[in-house]
Symmetry: C2
Subunit: 341 residues, 2 copies
């Protein structure tokens, strides 16, 4: 049973293809009786409009491109989850591209998305990306919404977690519980999210009359075995830190492990709060306090913005930034992870 086309319906009813087309889109200029007949026949033949023909025709491809550094990452997979959910609901398919954190693959992904004539693009920048010419080029063809890792050089709507507030809340919580030397382990310094979190951390310190000490802040892409030495370095400071605030899942896990190996107790000796999202936090629960990133909501919100632009044909979308709230989950009181004999 091949897919039915307008032509099949037309042949069946001995009318023209254009009439069928119009009847199906409920054009006002079609005889109600004809409409009924066409509708009935369409249902009977299980007719589905061919989206490829529609795209060729030029109107819209009903497909969205999503470009992320990595799918196998809780944050991004949750974001894609939200994106796919809303997109499907509104009749759009989602085509996925990974950049693996390289500029080169980001460019390739955009080229591919362009070739596919997607109606819009959702992107979280690779950590290598520092120029946006490739995105500006893309923008001449279809609207873009940035999420999570965004660039202010690019005039598009942006949907991000409230990194500043999250970092502020975490830092302030640490201060309120008596911490004075709070280390901050974070990712690449040129990323928007890094800067915002750092700003929140710094603001909280300063609002609470604590000096910002740059020796307590470390940037990088730390591999699994690089966090330990780093924590050592920090603990060797005089005075040593009494708390850690980390900017990613991996950093939080590495830090947990390093602290444990050094026989430091949480929160007796040091406190630890990680910037992550609820699913990860639940897996580690409840040893780790977290600033929850609403990844799924960010995905949902981002795609909703994009679809609004696409459907209302607001090609010139306001480059507004939507900030999704983060939530501080403090879980230092008990540790279900105490599983040793």
């Amino acid at each position: 049973m091949e897919a039915a086309t307008l032509k099949d319906i037309a042949r069946e009813l001995n009318i023209s293809v254009s009439t069928v087309s119009r009847a199906l889109r409920d054009s006002y200029e079609i005889n109600p009786e004809t409409k009924r007949l066409v509708m009935e026949c369409a249902t009977r033949l299980n007719y589905r409009p061919n989206p490829i023909a529609l795209s060729l025709k030029g109107s819209s491809s009903k497909a969205l491109a999503v470009v992320v550094p990595q799918i196998a990452n809780y944050y991004f997979s949750q974001a894609i989850n939200g994106i796919e959910e809303v997109a499907q609901q509104r009749g759009y398919d989602v085509i996925i591209f990974q950049t693996h954190e390289t500029y080169e693959r980001e460019v390739a992904a955009l080229r591919q998305a362009l070739a596919r004539r997607v109606d819009g693009l959702l992107i979280s920048l690779s950590s290598e990306t520092s120029t946006v010419a490739h995105l500006q080029e893309f923008q001449q063809h279809a609207p873009i919404v940035q999420f999570d890792r965004v660039s202010s050089q690019l005039a598009t709507p942006r949907v991000v977690a409230d990194n500043f507030a999250g970092a502020y809340a975490a830092t302030e919580h640490l201060i309120k519980t008596g911490r004075r030397r709070i280390a901050h382990l974070t990712i690449q310094p040129w990323l928007s999210i890094t800067q915002e979190r750092l700003a929140g951390y710094r603001a909280a310190l300063e609002q609470n009359c604590l000096a910002y000490d740059e020796t307590l802040v470390r940037f990088g892409t730390f591999g699994p075995n690089e966090v330990g030495p780093l924590v050592d370095e920090l603990l060797a400071l005089q005075p040593p830190p009494d708390a850690f605030f980390t900017a990613s899942d991996r950093l939080a896990v590495g830090c947990l492990a390093a602290l444990r190996q050094r026989r430091l107790r949480i929160p007796a000796d040091v406190s630890l709060i990680g910037f992550t999202n609820l699913t990860v936090a639940d897996m580690l629960a409840p040893a780790l306090s977290t600033v929850e990133q609403p990844a799924t909501d960010i995905g949902r919100e981002a795609v909703a913005r994009l679809l609004d632009i696409i459907e209302r044909k607001h090609r010139a979308a306001p480059p507004a930034t939507v900030t999704m709230p983060t939530a501080l989950h403090v879980r230092e009181s008990t540790s279900l992870m105490d599983l040793t004999p």
Copy 2:
């Protein structure tokens, strides 16, 4: 700068569209000089064939559909990771669909994939799916490869983790370390993966002269707060279990938490091994012993099979099952998760 078409090149060079088309695909019947000219012009105008027009023409859409229950799940996001990697490498785009574990959405996804004229389908069945008519229907249009959650009712290649061997190894390890009453917490009984794991568990027991006791085996979709009571139930048995073997991340985490709440120590009081994958294991490391599922490799392998079928036009692919090895990671010796004061 709109995307260049064959027509643009033809106009530029004052030749016909068909000549350009042939030159670009290096047809033997074209003057080498013309070819050179066309090639040069194509490069200059940055010509990319329009995949949409190609699909309409009927040959191939260079797109693959991936249908999974949930993207926001480590297993599936890693599998998609591998799929996207290989697909992109071989020039195919990946369109993602989630079923959210419902049959209805699975059917909708297939319909959508069909409408998109994808060249092939990679699917991991929803837990609600018990009939395969919708897949057989799809098969008449494009080849399918199943992975992870597969149905033997459907004649397609299958790529799965070696669930039997993994479960066998886990169970045997528990026995060798002195356990005699090994509980098995697992998912929906009708899923292929459930059955294979159960079979491995059972075989290991029987090979080691232990009776299979069905009161120690529990099936279900346990919510976060349902695992606790279940563990209680099991522990109330006479004699109680001295080990747990769980079939998913969530079950493992729930079980960890429940055991802890009951002040049971791992592995002093009970042992615990979960069926999961390395990334999750690393996050929980090293409180949890695991049977690692090679999710990324399964994705890579599955898509490679599919592309081979597509490109060699082996529409009648042998419904062979590829079994990817699992690995037992024992990590009971130390617990970095002991973070309490």
